[in-house]
């Protein structure tokens, strides 16, 4: 078809650094050739930041690997990839021999993978990684290490300490930043980043993006940023290319794409993302799923999911059309209609009061946490011979009530203790001190037989269920779904007949959207997608007829487009089954979506303490605590020209919970910190701005009247990270 020839070309005079023509990546398999990248052509301009967006399995990682001719065997790459060096010479990447390729990679184009956790040799110190890279490319080691020190400092790391560490001694966010420094060690022109932040929590993602922007300007880099997360790149990129089913479907400057995207898929992607601005009611998941490489639909590959599809789309593959903007091209016959037919949610926008399903919450709490503490003893001392043991303050002095039909979202970055708090509240983790009460009975007293109550521990256990972050690991891989679901009921209601049991299971499976239920029940976990596994986990929890479900990052592992769908389902189940949720997330936007739609609350946690809590919309629209504001900042907004304000943190990494900072625990990172914060710790108290919402509480001196000693003490400047005060 003539289509591919007329595919995307620049038509502008800008300086191109990498040209790709008809690049395909394919795997020869028994049942035929599987094309995981299908004749794509795209020019990458010098010193731009190009975002490449696609769902998982859309071929975006293949495109990244192809640029370095690094597709893993037995995959093969065909087409032309031309690299234009700064000195005017051109390198044909796919025809390089081993030795030339070795020099090309990392010196001209380097790459950062998603698996930063696993990108370092676990038995080699960080310094070794830098040295071996320098040696392999015949660079001067001393000079190189100086550059490394410089780079590490620029990504907010302490170079000496990091260089002498082993990989496992660093957190995920630290490793990712070290990897970025390592990839810039040989001064490449192009940096390819394949989902570099996917495994990190939002705040770290945002911080890394901010750093990346600085690095790009400082070293005149061309950056290719590959992700499934459109809002994330929107803020960073100059241009965005959208991949669907192994081909680019739309390419254009980021502002064009956000405001006038003309491919139905892009518009659907934009509408599927929860943000803090868009009205809750306007978000909608994309129906259907992305195609399998063996079985790509004919014509326009998006037609099975496209609301505008017609006969022509099914029979014929659309070419690229230029839109009004020169540089913006779309692979859709009906692109003009798409703009008018599919409205963008973030256009209607602004601080919307969404329709709130008034939760019919009870007077009496289901769960009560009373002065709850969970401390982990890192205790290895033998008869106390050597030094004192270390205490990890995972959860510290927390009071909370959870009512029937309630939703409480706990947010915070990893390491803040939110998972421990969640587990402690459903009695999966024994508190060090304090109480967890279930309808007035101290759960641990019941368990230990110390309680007068006639409630049994197993009944309480059944009433409090959990859904894990990683649905795969919580299902037995060797058992059919049916067995996994059946066994807990067998224990609980042993007199239930098999037919009753099964019909109950099938009914529920159908309810969570796994139809036909009989067929799903016969599958093994590996035959399910991530979203489907999560539904099975939810079904299993619901079968116990629970009163509280702890959803621990239950949607974080899902693709953006599936998250909203999953959350919708969980909310609709709440009304049916009268359950309450404790929803743990690092993403304020998800928390808002989940808690906001039924009038729930959001609690913001930092280093074991709740620093702000209140009705969801109130906390989001009117955050009081500086940390909540930081979290809000970290929630990407669909806004191409987001103000280039500085990182609102004095330090990227969360301190070690073994030794939490004195006074207000946030003072080491808080941009508003003053000397008073180092000495005294603020209590969680009702805010005092007279908005009449009593449930809104915050622990920060900023909220105190002017005569508070905070206002007269000195501003804290960063003493621990000199790179911050430039």
């Amino acid at each position: 078809m003539a289509v591919t020839e007329s595919s995307y070309s620049t038509g502008s005079s800008e300086d191109v650094i990498i040209e790709t023509h008809d690049v395909s990546v394919y795997f020869e398999m028994d049942r035929g050739t599987s094309k995981v990248l299908d004749d794509v052509s795209l020019d990458i301009y010098r010193e731009e930041i190009l975002g490449i967006v696609g769902e998982s399995g859309s071929g975006k990682s293949m495109f990244a690997s192809a640029l370095l001719d690094a597709v893993v065997a037995p995959g093969k790459t065909s087409g032309d990839i031309l690299y234009h060096d700064a000195d005017g010479s051109t390198i044909d990447v796919l025809s390089l021999n081993q030795e030339e390729l070795r020099a090309f990679r990392w010196e001209k184009v380097s790459m950062v993978f998603q698996g930063a956790m696993d990108s370092f040799n676990p038995t080699l110190r960080i310094k070794g990684h830098f040295i071996e890279t320098l040696k392999a490319h015949d660079f001067d080691v001393d000079e190189g290490l100086e550059r490394a020190t410089d780079l590490l400092a620029q990504v907010y790391l302490d170079p000496d300490r990091v260089l002498s560490s082993y990989p496992h001694e660093l957190s995920g966010g630290m490793k990712q930043r070290v990897l970025i420094a390592l990839s810039l060690l040989l001064d490449p022109d192009v940096l390819v980043m394949d989902e570099p932040t996917a495994a990190l929590d939002l705040l770290m993602q945002r911080s890394i993006l901010r750093l990346l922007e600085n690095l790009q300007q400082r070293y005149d880099l061309t950056v290719l940023f590959i992700t499934h997360d459109l809002p994330l790149v929107a803020e960073l990129s100059d241009r965005v290319a959208v991949l669907y089913a192994f081909q680019f479907v739309e390419v254009g400057p980021v502002s064009e794409l956000l405001e006038r995207s003309s491919h139905p898929y892009t518009r659907a992607l934009l509408n599927a993302v929860p943000t803090l601005q868009t009205p809750l009611s306007d978000m909608e998941p994309i129906e259907g799923s992305s195609p399998d490489p063996i079985n790509v639909p004919t014509g326009c590959s998006y037609h099975p999911r496209c609301p505008l599809a017609d006969e022509r789309c099914i029979g014929e593959e659309p070419p690229f059309y230029a839109t009004e903007h020169d540089d913006h091209q779309t692979k859709c016959f009906h692109w003009e209609d798409a703009i008018s037919e599919i409205p963008l949610a973030h256009h209607k926008s602004t601080t919307g009061s969404s329709q709130i399903v008034e939760g019919k919450q009870s007077e009496e709490p289901v769960l009560t946490l009373d002065n709850l503490c969970v401390h982990f003893e890192n205790n290895n001392s033998f008869l106390g011979l050597f030094g004192e043991s270390q205490t990890v303050f995972a959860v510290d002095e927390i009071d909370l009530d959870l009512y029937e039909n309630d939703i409480l979202a706990i947010v915070g970055e990893s390491g803040c203790g939110k998972t421990t708090l969640g587990k402690a509240s459903i009695a999966l983790q024994r508190p060090t001190s304090g109480e967890v009460q279930y309808r007035g009975d101290d759960i641990w007293a019941v368990k230990d037989g110390r309680s007068e109550s006639d409630r049994s521990y197993s009944a309480i256990r059944r009433a409090l269920q959990i859904i894990h972050q990683d649905p795969g690991s919580s299902l037995n891989p060797n058992q059919k779904i049916l067995r996994t679901l059946e066994s807990p009921i067998k224990h609980w209601k042993s007199d239930m007949s098999q037919t009753d049991r099964r019909s109950q299971i099938y009914g529920l499976l159908e309810y969570v959207g796994l139809t036909p239920a009989e067929e799903y029940a016969q599958r093994y976990p590996h035959q399910l997608s991530g979203g489907e596994k999560q539904r099975v986990a939810l079904t299993r929890a619901l079968l116990m007829n629970p009163e509280v479900i702890l959803a621990d990052e239950a949607v974080s592992a899902l693709d953006v487009s599936l998250r909203v769908e999953m959350m919708d389902m969980m909310i609709s189940l709440q009304n049916m089954f009268d359950t309450s949720y404790i929803f743990i997330s690092h993403d304020l936007a998800n928390a808002r979506y989940f808690a906001g739609s039924v009038g729930g609350r959001i609690a913001v946690m930092y280093l074991g303490e709740i620093v702000e809590i209140g009705p969801a919309e109130e906390v989001i629209q009117n955050p009081k605590h500086p940390y909540t504001k930081v979290l809000k900042w970290s929630t990407a907004e669909l806004d191409s020209d987001a103000s280039q304000e500085e990182l609102p943190l004095r330090n990227i990494d969360i301190p070690d919970p073994v030794n939490p900072p004195s006074g207000c625990r946030f003072h080491t990172r808080c941009p508003e910190a003053r000397t008073e914060c180092r000495v005294n710790s603020p209590k969680l108290e009702a805010t005092d701005d007279g908005d009449g919402i009593e449930a809104h509480q915050v622990a920060c001196f900023l909220d105190k009247p002017r005569d508070h000693p905070y206002w007269s003490s000195d501003q804290l400047v960063s003493e621990d990270n000199p790179t911050l005060v430039e």
Binding site: L68, A70, V72, R102, A103, R105, W106, S110, M111, F113, G115, D118, S119, F120, N121, P122, T123, L124, R125, E132, T133, A136, H137, R161, Y166, H168, E169, L170, S171, G172, G173, M174, L182, D201, F376, N378, N380, S381, F382, L385, F386, G387, Q390, V392, A394, E413, S414, G415, G417, K418, T419, T420, K423, Q429, D653, I654, P655, D656, P657, V658
Partner: protein, 364 residues
């Protein structure tokens, strides 16, 4: 408790927890002391157990020895006091004393290296074992090192050529070799190499007529040791190679290898520093456990080749109902196993940075 704790903490605190070096040192210290204490305690318990066996078992060693000393006519011609003195000489236990005194005496003798007297050889047990120990260590040590080296090389090659004919046939052979009991191999070796072809001597450690430490003597030692070493190596091949193969294949699929390759590291460095090191490290513990088990294997092997090492004497002791020799060998082997395990545990942290002191995240 620990496993539980680590799971919980690693869930939450994966981020942000970079131990400062001093803290890590702390943890190590606690743990080292604890581990050594455990080991000493284990040995203590085993020795106590041996006392209980000797002293308290009815019809056990005590009665047997008394019967032997009295001779066939148990008419009481030997007076009781002399009998008890004799028993004390052999067993470090005087039946006339109260039990706790017997216990104290026995324990202090054992811990000062006095294991009593062998009835069969009529020599101090300690002397016999001390003289036999170097030979066992020599034969089994060489066998073990060879086995390990070959296994590692073999496993690594198999992993690099995963799916090739070499890999498939070696995997098959390894499984067969693992499933053959090692004494079968030893007996076959003896049959062919010693009796049929007369290439190697069928028994003893060295030609006794040669002067020690001459060239001929050393050659004779090696000559005598060849068969036991060879049979134990050949039979030991297989399972280790399969483990190494599995480990290497796992490492070959790791992202860090891919990133290393992208960074342009030379293949040699990738093979040794990346694949090799990361695949071998988890096997270190199993090497140490194997050292401990060596003595067990030595019992049958040395018996088959009539090679007078610790294992051989243990076998003789069983046959001759020479309880003191048996106990001595038993305690010696226990100590060896315990020491090896402690050394393995304590040194693993040194050679594998991932294993923090006190952490039980085994990667084996």
């Amino acid at each position: 408790m620990w496993g539980f704790l680590t799971t919980i903490t690693s869930l939450e605190f994966k981020g942000g927890k970079a131990f400062k070096p001093e803290e890590e040192h702390y943890l190590c210290m606690h743990w080292t002391v604890k581990r050594i204490f455990q080991a000493v305690f284990t040995v203590y318990v085993v020795v106590t157990l041996s006392f209980a066996l000797i002293r308290l078992m009815p019809g056990g060693p005590m009665d047997y020895l008394r019967a032997t000393l009295l001779g066939p006519d148990q008419t009481g011609t030997v007076d009781r006091e002399r009998l008890n003195r004799q028993i004390e000489l052999y067993m470090n236990i005087n039946p006339d004393q109260p039990l706790w005194e017997q216990y104290v005496q026995y324990m202090s003798s054992v811990f000062t290296g006095d294991f009593g007297q062998s009835i069969w050889f009529n020599r101090p047990v300690a002397e016999i074992l001390l003289e036999a120990l170097p030979w066992t260590v020599f034969v089994m040590g060489i066998a073990l090192l060879l086995t390990f080296a070959i296994n590692i090389a073999l496993g690594a090659i198999m992993a690099y050529k995963e799916g090739s004919r070499f890999d498939i046939s070696m995997t098959f052979l390894s499984i067969i070799s693992t499933s053959i009991p090692f004494y079968v191999g030893a007996i076959l070796f003896l049959l062919f190499f010693s009796f049929t072809w007369e290439l190697f001597p069928p028994g003893s450690r060295v030609n006794a007529r040669l002067d020690p430490w001459t060239f001929e003597w050393i050659m004779s030692v090696l000559h005598h040791a060849t068969l036991p070493i060879l049979s134990s190596v050949l039979i030991g091949l297989g399972s280790g190679a399969l483990i190494m193969r599995g480990n290497s294949i796992q490492v070959l699929g790791k992202d860090y290898l891919r990133v290393g390759r992208l960074r342009g590291l030379p293949e040699g460095r990738l093979a040794l520093r990346y694949v090799g090191r990361n695949a071998v490290l988890p096997m270190y513990t199993s090497l140490m456990i194997a050292i401990g088990n060596v003595f067990g294997g030595a019992v049958v092997l040395e018996e088959i080749f009539t090679y007078p090492g610790v294992g051989y004497y243990l076998f003789v002791a069983v046959e001759a109902r020479d309880y003191m020799l048996l106990m001595g060998a038993f305690i010696l082997i226990t100590v060896a196993v315990v020491v090896c395990l402690v050394v393995a545990d304590l040194t693993y942290g040194l050679i594998d940075p991932r294993a923090k002191g006190g952490g039980y995240d085994e990667h084996a």
